[in-house]
Symmetry: C2
Subunit: 123 residues, 2 copies
């Protein structure tokens, strides 16, 4: 499958899940997965899911502007770089964000998130 199409499908799935059922994101991470969220470092699927579900808003909507991807090396990993906007329920203005994912293949032919770095792009 075309890597750009895989990246696009992952990104669509990730933000759709984030915006509809954040707790379900746990299945995309593993014990060794790392998240850096606005500079804070979290490791492991359970801790990452706990962080994401505890963010201080009930609902949000991601609108993706760009998705870039590259193979990360001989182990079949893929780097996915996203820019977009994030709108919180009840807030008038959208926030710009950038996020990168390092996806690694699973034995089942899918991918999990090995690395995840998120930043808001303040004006």
């Amino acid at each position: 499958m075309d890597p750009d199409a895989v990246a696009k499908a992952f990104v669509d799935h990730y933000y759709r899940t984030f915006d509809s059922n954040r707790a379900a994101l746990v299945s995309l991470y593993q014990d060794g997965s790392m998240l850096t969220f606005e500079g804070g470092k979290i490791q492991g699927a359970q801790a990452i899911a706990a962080k994401l579900t505890s963010l201080p808003f009930e609902q949000c909507l991601h609108a993706v502007s760009t998705v870039d991807c590259q193979p990360s090396g001989p182990q079949g990993g893929m780097l996915v770089f996203v820019s977009g906007q994030l709108r919180l329920a009840g807030e008038e203005h959208a926030l710009k964000f950038s996020q990168m994912f390092h996806l690694m293949p699973t034995p089942q032919g899918s991918f999990y998130v090995q690395n995840d770095i998120f930043r808001l792009n303040y004006a």
Copy 2:
């Protein structure tokens, strides 16, 4: 050495070189290195340096806002995620950008850029 300190030192070196002598960036890439610049894909140190030196401005100044880093896997790689602002000579307004680097160790104990993805964050 502390990975965050290595990432910070790399980022300082990269943008100082970019802003003073773009052609010298060639030494940070290898033949298998990949750059995605505003969606355009370029491979190999020479082609990447040619792209960066051909950008349509003489001078620019990067101001880094955030640097995040994570180990990318068992091969000793490091993911570095940067946000900041870019000011072109003669332009009043700075442009916001995000960039990620995947650094891989060299036998000499340094790092080269295996992956590089750059995006301007338009308002």
